[in-house]
Amino acid sequence: MDVFFTIVIVFLLLNIAVGLIRVWRGPTVADRLLTTQLFGTTGMAILLVLAGYLEDPDFLNVAITFNVLAILLVIGLVKVWKKKKGESP
């Protein structure tokens, strides 16, 4: 089972790495912003699998912390976006 989990984690990490090619190539800024998106979801998946792999459910708390604070970041982003929308054409 451990070997299987390891393969899954490596696969997910490779997923991120391959996804980063898009971030690197662009072409638009928004494409680059996808990093966070990619990392957010895949990172959570990795954390979940790691929690099982290391047999320690405490790791779930890390994922929850990230998650609940992600909302803070998203709302912060809304604010930034609103502000900038108001001033730039």
Binding site: M1, F4, V8, F11, L12, N15, V18, G19, I21, R22, R25, P27, T28, A30, D31, L33, L34, T36, Q37, L38, G40, T41, T42, M44, A45, L48, V49, A51, G52, P57, L60, N61, A63, I64, N67, V68, A70, I71, L73, V74, L77, V78, W81, K85
Partner: protein, 102 residues
């Protein structure tokens, strides 16, 4: 291999498949909006499968609640940020179907 483990493996593999699909979409799709679509939908589904698999593996109700809430929160955060990125892009650079080079 017990039956639980079998299910875990199946669920995780399914999750990985969706993650792969999402990543391929991000790489191959022609413009931002389709890429966003691939990333958000496929990855969240993939996460759902992986969450289910891990909930089965850890097999404690407390952990299952946590895992479920992790999935829920990720859905919320990623859909909101997907929406924001899309809206941002739409303001700056409206979609011109399949014209942008990749």
């Amino acid at each position: 291999m017990t039956i639980t483990e079998l299910f875990t493996v199946i669920l995780l593999v399914a999750g990985c498949f969706f993650f792969l699909a999402g990543t391929l979409g991000v790489l191959r799709f022609p413009d931002l909006f389709t890429r966003l679509h691939a990333l958000t939908k496929a990855d969240n589904l993939g996460l759902g499968f992986i969450a289910a698999g891990m909930a089965l593996h850890i097999a404690s109700p407390w952990a299952a609640i946590k895992i479920f809430s992790i999935w829920l929160f990720t859905l919320l955060a990623s859909s909101t940020s997907c929406y924001l990125i899309a809206r941002f892009q739409k303001e700056k650079n409206p979609p011109k179907n399949r014209k942008e080079e990749g």
